[in-house]
Amino acid sequence: MTLPGGVHAETYAQDRALIRTPWQWLWFAAFVAVLLLLPFLRPGGAVGIATVIGITLIAVLGLQLTSGCAGQINMGQSAFMGVGAYAAGALAVHLHWSFLMTIPIGGISAAVFGAVFGLAALRIKGFYLALTTIAAQYIFTFAMLKLPKEWFGQSEGLRMDPAVLGSFAFDTDNRIYYLVLAFAALMTYGAWGLMRSRTGRAFIAVRDNDNAAEVIGINVFYYKTLAFFIGAFYAGVAGALWAYYVRYVQADQFTLWLSVWYVGMLIVGGMGSILGAIVGTVVIRLLQELITVVGPQITDLLPTLGGQFVFAAMNMLLGGLIIVFVIFEPRGLVHRWNIVKESYRIWPFPH
């Protein structure tokens, strides 16, 4: 908790609050306003990007809880997302359930799948665990192509109708944006609550020192499993939203590559903080957008280079950036920001 000098909590509730100064309130309100008005401020491009960022954010938040907070490296987040998408999709397509039901159930289906790897996490640690979770990806793809066609469509995938609330269909970019925004806000709020409540502390305890945690009464087995359960739940919700956004679900959409990027977002943003997940997701996604936007520009300007060269070079840039980033700021952007803030701070001061 970093506060400007002179701010003191009068009650424990205040001490616990996330937003504490009028300025912070102002910034927060402005941020919310921009998010709410985005479709009117910058219709089109920004909305599409923001929608995908919102969905990605939910998945990355889940990964933050599993990996950043509870310390269990997970490289199967994209597969968990896929499970959520398929579960929600199948319920919507075959049983015509409302998205209010299918999205949470998608989350829970993913959570159950993820918890299996949580069970493994009790015994398997470090790199071994990270690599074990890669198996989730292969098992997911295999299962989706093998389970009965009546369930998940096998290679055909699932084609979905838009999410509907009463007679209101989320069938335009702006509408689905608000749906995703609502879920992203809810999931972010929930992650924040989780983080500062008993569960979040137990996660960090397990991450920082699982032996000590066990000895002071934290059931490490339960919390490792729970960390995967919750992280995968987030992925499942993200997957279900993705399903409603794209309205088509296929195993091809959820690749190992995507999981790798999610881990990358965490690293860039910073491990272990909700803000880190947000910052990392936004920064990397925008960077990727930038590259897809800048690429054609360069190709236009220097046609002799050819698109192939430009885009491949962009990959070098992106990979190089990550490397440089990890070398110079292995704890992420949020950490750097905190250090900068720290130097302005006069807290803690003797009362």
Binding site: R123, Y128, A130, T141, G319, V326
Partner: protein, 294 residues
């Protein structure tokens, strides 16, 4: 029956080849405690080096292969010096991410330097059939399998018998103790990256011998993952056994399970075995166990 035998035998051979790639993971891991996600890309770079020297520069095998091997050793050392060295003492995550960044970066380099087109990898090893009874093997594969055994034996000998190898094993055990004995830890790690680069190129030669190839050949890296993990990330000899186990299990699985699942078991089965083995032995079959203390 012949079909079963053939699948198992060829599976075992394939497993041995995976073991070669797995070995290049293991050699880095045991000395530097880093799992190099970019290993598959290094294999591709090795492959393109050979291809360039042989197909583009028309060098003969005896010149091209040693040159390519040398270059891949240098590549390994370079990566260690430039990137990994500056991360000493950082957390596990940093290493996961930096090698992933490396993966993306090298892929970009490969695309820029060699492009995405399909290339024909030269037949460095003789291509012919080897017949054993009713079984037919690819001679290149058989040579590759034998080569894997030789390389594994050589590596085992190196790490257990030679002074440099012993020192590197000491580094694998405990960086600080190694330091206290006057062993230059960072140099050992650089040597490990060099050896790993070398093995990657050897693997590329055996794998791609006389086949088509694109930058996607890096998939080999992920395919070899279960072998490395199953064996345990510290054991050289174990990797060979791990490769055989995965290969034979794969042969059996595709014979017995493919009809049930309508095929495709080969892609997922190694991972399933890997998870099961790790649940029973969390550091693989031959990996080093650690005692936890508070």
């Amino acid at each position: 029956m012949t079909s079963l035998l053939s699948q198992v035998a060829n599976g075992a051979l394939t497993g041995l080849l995976y073991a070669l790639v797995a070995m290049s993971f293991v050699i880095i891991y045991r000395s530097a405690r880093v799992f190099n996600f970019a290993q598959g890309e290094i294999v591709v770079v090795g492959a393109f080096l050979v291809w360039t020297l042989m197909s583009a520069f028309d060098l003969p095998v005896w010149a091209a292969v040693p040159l390519a091997l040398l270059a891949s050793v240098l590549l390994g050392v370079l990566i260690e010096r430039v990137i990994l060295r500056s991360l000493v003492g950082e957390e596990l995550f940093a290493f996961v991410m930096v090698t992933i960044g490396l993966l993306i970066f090298i892929r970009g380099v490969v695309l820029v330097a060699w492009g995405p087109e399909v290339r024909f990898f030269p037949a460095v090893l003789p291509m012919a059939a080897v017949k054993v009874g009713a079984l037919v093997f690819d001679r290149a594969m058989v040579i590759g399998g034998a080569l894997t055994l030789v390389v594994a034996a050589a590596m085992s000998w190196f790490f257990n018998r030679t002074q440099l190898g012993l020192e590197m094993t000491a580094v694998a055990e405990d960086h600080q103790t190694a330091l206290s004995l006057g062993i230059p830890v960072t140099r050992s790690i650089a040597v490990a990256w060099g050896i790993s680069g070398l093995l990657s190129t050897v693997a590329a030669i055996i794998f791609l011998n006389g086949k088509g190839m694109t930058f996607l050949a890096s998939d080999i890296g992920f395919a070899a993952l279960p072998v490395a993990l199953l064996a345990g990330l510290e054991s050289i000899g174990g990797v060979v056994l791990g490769g055989l186990i995965v290969g034979i299990a794969l042969g059996l699985a595709s014979y017995f399970l493919d009809p049930i699942f309508n095929g495709g078991v080969a892609a997922v089965f190694p991972f399933v075995i890997m998870v099961i083995v790790l649940l029973i032995r969390p550091t693989g079959l031959f990996g080093w166990k650690t005692i936890e203390r508070i």
